[in-house]
Subunit: 209 residues, 3 copies
């Protein structure tokens, strides 16, 4: 896996997570700079935690200052677009799902490239993927998205594991990564859209519990 | 203090904290992988934070991958046992108390073994003991246990200080540690069981405030 | 900028943030050791996070154990004074504002002194300033202060940017820092006192949203 691919995934994940952060903060009626702070926490939190634990200094956005810029621009665009035309809540969940899929893969890649074992790489991938979103929800005093819908951690672990299995069987790393990412995204989007289309089923499930 | 004793305490603390994490997550009706994620945050969060601040890389569960396995197995067992037979909430508090006692001591030991002063070791011990539980409660959107009952930080500080005093007077390290740990556990369990047996007293206290 | 000035600012920031932490914890009816823990999280959280991300080990309170003592003494004093005479909530907000102003500047200074670019220094300053207060509010299960009043992140970013602009134009560092700090403090205090004197305006704003 070339470093440029990791950079690209990081960049993309940062943009969508910044949008999700800006939307969550916007619904709390923060001013423009508050929205920017929450967006940066969301899009840089997971990668920063990953780099601290891997002792991979400088942290990712020190090395690539363009990441900061990407996060800020995405947050500002979201803020202004949301003023003109109210962005539906569903967009937040979809952005979060894309960010999850990208960040799980970059976390996995980075841990593997530093020579860690597959099981540690899986944990680092999971952490990179969920930490930013959890920080966003905690800082905004929301129940973390990871607990709203059933298929969240499941999606991340399934996609990450599939990637590691494919790599074990010598599948081309880029293809393995693409399959892993699509698995996470598909499972998570299924959760989002299925969860909303089957309210009765979920309600009866809840009663039963 | 031999490294193997620290390893053993870490291992035990991880298991009971994983159980407490799994129980808290289970009461939120998370699916099996969500329960696993919360259990891992609970049982590895305190030690990870300690190692980051002490700059003691690799972090504890990178060095001992078996810790990860212990946490996951404890979480899964708890999840399945809890399906068959509803584990009472009291078990969660007792597991949290044991984890607190173990982790305060391992944090103290690790800081001292790296040559830090007793006051910094005390803070690191306290942090190792409470951080995982605080993360568990924050991530599950609960008021941290540390604020439920009165004797929580008090127990950790008392036990840690006693250990340091005993060491200062050349008491055998293993005995000092055992006494420190039992002090934390006794004080905390007293808090749990006394707090529940004296609701009227607590209520009148609250009114007075 | 001499290191002794940074030390002085850190020291002062730690004291006011410890007071704000003790007041928040006090309102949750924690016992004296619980209050101390929350005060330490508030006053050391931001600087610790800054040092971890900058990889500037040992972290600030390992090097200056006196910081720990300052935080603990401030917390204890607040605890006992608050018993005798109920400290008004407004004091908490003012302490938080002073801590914000000091910590933004020390974070900026430290990042610049380690050779980082102005944009990264700005982010590190912002983080140092807001992280302790956010941790305090999260741990106490409160909506972070950063979201209560409109001019919070705005104040920190404005003061930090002004400092960087003044430094760019070769203004004496101490004067630049003083101006930056006063800017943050003035904007934040304006927010606190203006926000409370214009409730009707804010309500109509909210309705419009």
């Amino acid at each position: 896996m070339s470093p440029s691919v990791i950079t690209f995934l990081d960049f993309f994940g940062i943009t969508v997570f910044a949008i999700s952060g800006a939307l969550t903060a916007g619904h709390k009626r923060l001013d423009i700079f508050g929205v920017m702070v929450v967006a940066l926490i969301t899009c840089l939190g997971g990668g920063t935690l990953r780099d601290l634990i891997l002792d991979a200094h400088p942290v990712v956005w020190f090395e690539h200052t363009s990441y900061l810029l990407a996060g800020i621009l995405a947050a500002l665009s979201t803020f202004f677009v949301d003023r003109l035309y109210r962005i539906p809540v569903r967009v937040l969940e979809v952005c979060d799902a894309i960010g999850l899929a990208f960040f799980v893969m970059t976390g996995l890649q980075k841990a593997l490239s530093l020579g860690h074992s597959p099981e540690i790489a899986l944990v680092m991938g999971l952490m990179t993927g969920v930490a930013g979103g959890i920080m966003r929800d905690i800082v905004c005093n929301e129940i973390p998205l990871i607990f709203h819908k059933e298929i969240y951690a499941t999606a991340a672990i399934a996609g990450g594991t599939l990637f590691l299995v494919l790599r074990h069987f010598q599948v081309d790393p880029d293809i393995a990564m693409l399959i892993g990412m699509l698995t996470i995204l598909t499972l998570r989007l299924t959760g989002i859209f299925l969860g909303l289309s089957l309210p009765a089923f979920l309600l009866s499930e809840e009663k039963k519990e």
